[in-house]
């Protein structure tokens, strides 16, 4: 404590002597109350959907402050504090919001827990067979009816341009392509873009993006257009494509589906995506817990928020009858669609 006071005093004196003022951030104590206030303030000043969610379901961040502050006690344990703060964050209904302590990570899961799963990897393996190929994280197979099936389970790792050239060239003999992004929880936006750009021959407006310019709930930059541009020197898919989605198609995958949905000869079949259209940033509390939150909102070409998901062109769930037979209703719907849309 003495060391800290000495350090602060020394810095202060040096600044005074030089006529220079200190730039510091207001901080809170490492106490249940201090950590609560710090977390509430981070979300209040940086979270990008407070106004939108107020309009959508009546989220009132000031009321949440008073409601949850009542639950704090000075002697509460870290576990109890974590529970209160997690519940407070879950009021945001955002899968991109997490509180991370040394031994726990909070997650809002209702965006997929309350919906049909619509994906089963043991059923998927019947379609992939034993001789499927894998390259750059993509699993692919040519189905019996000469339809290409590609499964992309993550955008966390990059996809090689050369790999995509090879895969698409190899599948060029097929009558259509199923691109399955079910249970793909996202990853890098640049990876999602790299895959999507192979399905267009022209520059397409795919939406808008803005960011916060200040701590106020409505302080945003003017949304700027986001385009998808075809890589003219690379192999691009020229036939019909069906993108398969479920509620666990989230974050960068939500962005990928939005990109694909704006393209010609692309149809989205399955369930509504999980959403997650806020680019997440990180911050932290005085006790060292990390918090992740949505910072920059993305919109579709009509300036509609994508935070709560994207509706498919054709809504299909896996039926329990098909499930029991080991049939993926969504893949079958895609095959039927592609057979009816051969070029």
């Amino acid at each position: 404590m003495i060391k800290k006071i000495f350090k602060k005093t020394a810095i202060f004196l040096l600044m005074i002597l030089s006529g220079t003022s200190c730039i510091t951030e207001d901080t809170f104590n490492d106490s249940p109350d201090g950590n609560f206030e710090a977390l509430w303030k981070i979300i209040d000043e940086h979270y990008c959907f407070l106004e939108y969610k107020n309009q959508e379901y009546g989220l009132d961040w000031n009321k949440i402050h008073s409601d949850y502050k009542k639950r704090l006690t000075s002697g509460m344990s870290n576990e109890q504090l974590f529970d209160v703060l997690s519940e407070m964050l879950n009021e945001l209904r955002d899968g991109h919001v997490n509180l991370v302590s040394k031994d726990r990570t909070s997650q809002y899961r209702e965006w997929y827990d309350n919906y049909p799963r619509n994906f089963d990897d043991s059923i998927q393996s019947r379609y992939l067979g034993k001789d499927y190929n894998t390259a750059s994280g993509l699993k692919y197979q040519i189905l019996e009816d000469n339809i290409a099936y590609v499964y992309c389970g993550s955008f966390q790792s990059g996809i090689g341009s050369g790999n995509l050239d090879q895969i698409l060239s190899k599948l060029a003999i097929c009558n259509g392509l199923i691109l399955d992004v079910r249970n793909n929880g996202g990853g890098n936006l640049t990876t999602a873009e790299k895959l999507a750009e192979r399905f267009t021959n022209e520059k397409k407006l795919i939406g808008y993006m803005s960011y916060k310019t200040g701590p106020g709930h409505n302080e945003f930059s003017t949304p700027e257009a986001v385009y998808l541009e075809p890589p003219m020197d690379r192999v691009r898919w020229q036939k019909h494509t069906v993108v398969l989605t479920n509620r666990r198609s989230y974050s960068a995958t939500n962005d990928f589906v939005n990109r694909m949905k704006q393209l010609d000869r692309v149809t989205v079949i399955g369930d509504k995506t999980g959403g997650g259209s806020g680019l997440p940033f990180s911050s932290e509390l005085p006790n060292g817990w990390s918090v992740r939150f949505s910072a920059s909102p993305m919109y579709d070409p009509d300036m509609k928020h994508l935070e709560f998901g994207i509706e498919p062109d054709k809504k299909v769930d896996i039926t329990s009858e098909d499930y029991n037979k080991g049939i993926d209703t969504i893949i079958e719907a895609a095959r039927e669609y592609l057979h009816n849309h051969k070029q």
């Binding site: 350090k7 600044m15 220079t20 490492d30 640049t190 993006m209 200040g214 930059s221 990180s282 005085p286």
Partner: protein, 281 residues
């Protein structure tokens, strides 16, 4: 290093006498020093975290100084080149930040010779800075780029004194940025938007004392050890800014140690051979 520099510190003595020393041009004497240091730093960058990070810093400083012909030969030019690197932790020791900065200053000082052993120097300075702060656990705001240029005011006091017969030179220098331009993302703008999507914003900002109160202070003491000139120093480097609602500071306190070398520059050294009297060959 096949430039025009050549070590000739002893040339006046070798050539014999003070009369010859006077014939040498004062603007060709160069003082050059290289110092290595370690210390402590305190980093805040609210783009990355509202919390301060503290930890050790290492630094290299390379300085050169020579007289010019400006204003009747009363102006000296100084080049200060610094590189620093720090590894810091938050108070709870759950997160780390790696930070680095390259800084180059070039100043022109008018020399006021108040006494034979006391000089005050003052003048303008160009201040160029480029660096980064990297937070090891953040998501889409993992790092902050540092890039800023300033016109600064620089002042220096040089005092020569003796303790017994032991000669010492003390120097205090302060460099205060007055105005400049700085790169900064906007409050919640990601580098993905700036560089991948190439979306604009207020990313190049005018800075002055009101939003960039910064100060670099340098205190050094030169003393001979054997046939070497040793320089020990302390740097108090206060870099701060408040732009786009983002606050940042780096408060560094670094102790430095190194050597001073004095040179005399020879013009057209490729054409003029060295005098046989001083040549080792």
């Amino acid at each position: 290093m096949k430039k025009i520099f050549l070590l000739l510190l002893l040339l006046p003595f070798v050539l014999g006498g003070k009369a010859q020393e006077d014939s040498l041009q004062t603007n060709r004497y160069v003082m050059r020093a290289t110092l290595y240091g370690a210390g402590y730093t305190n980093i805040l960058d609210t783009y990355l975290s509202p919390m301060e990070y503290t930890g050790p810093e290492i630094r290299i400083l390379r300085e050169s100084m020579r007289m010019t012909k400006l204003l009747n030969g009363n102006v000296s030019a100084q080049s200060l080149f610094q590189i620093n690197l720090s590894l810091t932790d938050n108070k709870a020791e759950t997160g780390s930040e790696l930070a680095g900065l390259i800084n180059w200053n070039y100043a022109w000082h008018y020399q006021f010779r108040l006494a034979e052993n006391l000089k005050i120097l003052a003048g303008p300075m160009i201040d160029l800075n480029g660096g980064f702060v990297y937070n090891t656990r953040n998501s889409n705001n993992p790092a902050q780029a540092k890039a800023y240029v300033n016109i600064a005011g620089s002042g220096m006091v040089i005092y020569r004194f003796r303790i017994g017969n032991y000669p010492l030179i003390a120097r205090y220098q302060a460099n205060l940025p007055l105005m400049g331009v700085m790169f900064s993302p906007e409050y919640g703008q990601s580098y993905y938007e700036i560089f991948s999507l190439k979306h604009g914003g207020k990313n190049i900002l005018f800075t002055s004392l009101h939003n960039q109160p910064a100060l670099r202070q340098l205190l050094t003491l030169d003393f001979p050890v054997g046939n070497m000139n040793v320089r020990a120093g302390y740097i108090c480097d206060i870099q701060q800014a408040k732009v786009n609602h983002l606050k940042s500071h780096t408060w560094s306190h670094v102790f430095m140690l190194g050597f001073v070398k004095n040179f005399y520059l020879i013009k057209n050294k490729k054409k003029v051979g060295m005098s046989p009297k001083v040549s080792p060959y």
